[in-house]
Symmetry: C2
C-alpha cells in the first residue's frame, strides 16, 4: 500500500493528517504536478489526474480524499474519525460536508480564481467568482465560532475528519488571501488545539 501525492496541495494534507491520527505508517510517493500527474500512466490510476491516490498492494487505486480516508477507517477503525453509531456517523458526515462544501470549497475557489499562479491552470479564471467566495468562507467561520462555543471539536466532543477538513481549509486561507478574523475567539481556541496536535505537521 502506498499513497501518491504532491506535498504542498491541501487534499494530500488532509490524508496525511488522517493517516497520522490513525497512527498508520504508509509510504508516500511524491508526484510532480507538472510532470508525473500529466502522464498517461498516472491517468490510468486516476482519470482526473489529481492527487492523492491510495494504491493497494494488488494495484487497485482509490482516489478522492474522503474515499481514501474511508477505506482507512474501515480497515483501521480505531480511533474512529468518522464518528461512532448511526447518529454519530451521520453527524460527522454532516459537519465534514459543511466544512468541505461550505468552507474548503469556497477557499479553494477563491484561490483558483484570484491567484496569479493559477491563471494557466484554471481556465477561464473568473475573478468575480473568486472574490464572491471570500465572504462565504468568512460566513462559515462566523457560524463555526457560534458552534464551537458549546463543544470541543467541529462535530462534537471527539476529534473527527471534520476537524481535518476544517484545519486544512483554514490554513489554505493564507494562499487564498482571505484574512482570518481574530475576533472569532472560539475558532481561535479550536484552531490552536488542532494545530498543535502532532498530526498537523504530517
Amino acid at each position: 500500500m502506498k499513497i501518491l501525492e504532491s506535498r504542498t496541495a491541501p487534499n494530500p494534507r488532509r490524508v496525511r493528517i488522517f493517516v497520522a491520527e490513525k497512527g498508520l505508517d504508509i509510504p508516500y510517493q511524491q508526484l510532480d504536478f507538472m510532470k508525473e500527474l500529466k502522464t498517461e500512466a498516472f491517468k490510468k490510476l486516476n482519470h482526473f489526474q489529481r492527487v492523492p491516490v491510495l494504491v493497494l498492494d494488488d494495484g487497485t487505486a482509490i482516489s478522492e480524499t474522503v474515499a481514501i480516508c474511508r477505506y482507512l477507517e474501515e480497515t483501521h477503525p480505531e480511533p474512529a474519525l468518522f464518528g461512532v453509531g448511526a447518529l454519530g456517523r451521520a453527524t460527522v458526515e454532516m459537519w465534514n460536508r459543511r466544512m468541505e462544501l461550505g468552507l474548503l470549497m469556497h477557499v479553494a475557489q477563491a484561490f483558483r480564481h484570484t491567484h496569479p499562479a493559477m491563471a494557466t491552470l484554471e481556465v477561464p479564471q473568473v475573478k468575480e467568482w473568486g472574490e464572491a467566495n471570500k465572504p462565504r468562507a468568512l460566513e462559515m467561520l462566523a457560524y463555526m465560532n457560534e458552534e464551537l462555543a458549546g463543544r470541543a471539536f467541529i462535530a462534537g466532543e471527539a476529534y473527527s475528519i471534520a476537524d481535518v477538513t476544517a484545519l486544512v481549509a483554514v490554513d489554505f486561507m493564507k494562499p487564498a488571501r482571505i484574512e482570518r478574523p481574530s475576533a472569532f475567539q472560539n475558532v481561535e481556541r479550536w484552531y490552536g488545539e488542532v494545530s498543535s496536535r502532532p498530526s498537523a505537521k504530517a
Copy 2:
C-alpha cells in the same frame, strides 16, 4: 421521524430516491422556499436554511443530503446503497463524490449562474462562471460513458447512492440548459435503466 423538503429541488429528490430504494415509509413535509425556509424556526433546524432536513422523533435535525442517506443506511442496512466491505464502501464513496463534485456541482453552478430565475437568489450571478461549468459536466458524462461500457452501474455491478446522485444530476441538466449528447450510448443505457426504476418517480 420526518423529512422536511421542497419537492422540486434536486437534493430533496436524492433523498426521496434513496428512501424509495430502501423501501422505507417516512413522511415528507413540504416547505415553501420563499416562506418557511426563511423563518428563524427553520434556521434552528438548519442554520443554512436549506432542505432536505431529517428530523428524528426526539427533535434531532440532520441536514446535508448524504448525511441523511448515511443515517438511513446505518439504521436500515439493506439493501446496501453505500457499498459492501472496506473496498466496496471506498469505491462507492469515490464514485458518489465524482458524481457530486464532478457532475451535479457543475450542473448546479451552471443553473445558478445562468438561469434568469436564479438572479435574485445567487448574488452575484456570474454568467462567465456558469458557462464555464457546462463543458465540465459534459466531460464527466464522456468519462461515465467510457466507464459504463464495462459495468451496469456507476460504482460497479450494484445500484448505489452514486447512481442516485448521477441520475438527479443528469435530470437537472434540463433546467440548467445543458443538452445531453445522444452519442453517449452507455450513459443512455444506464440512464434508461435507473430512470425506469420505481424510485426515480419518488
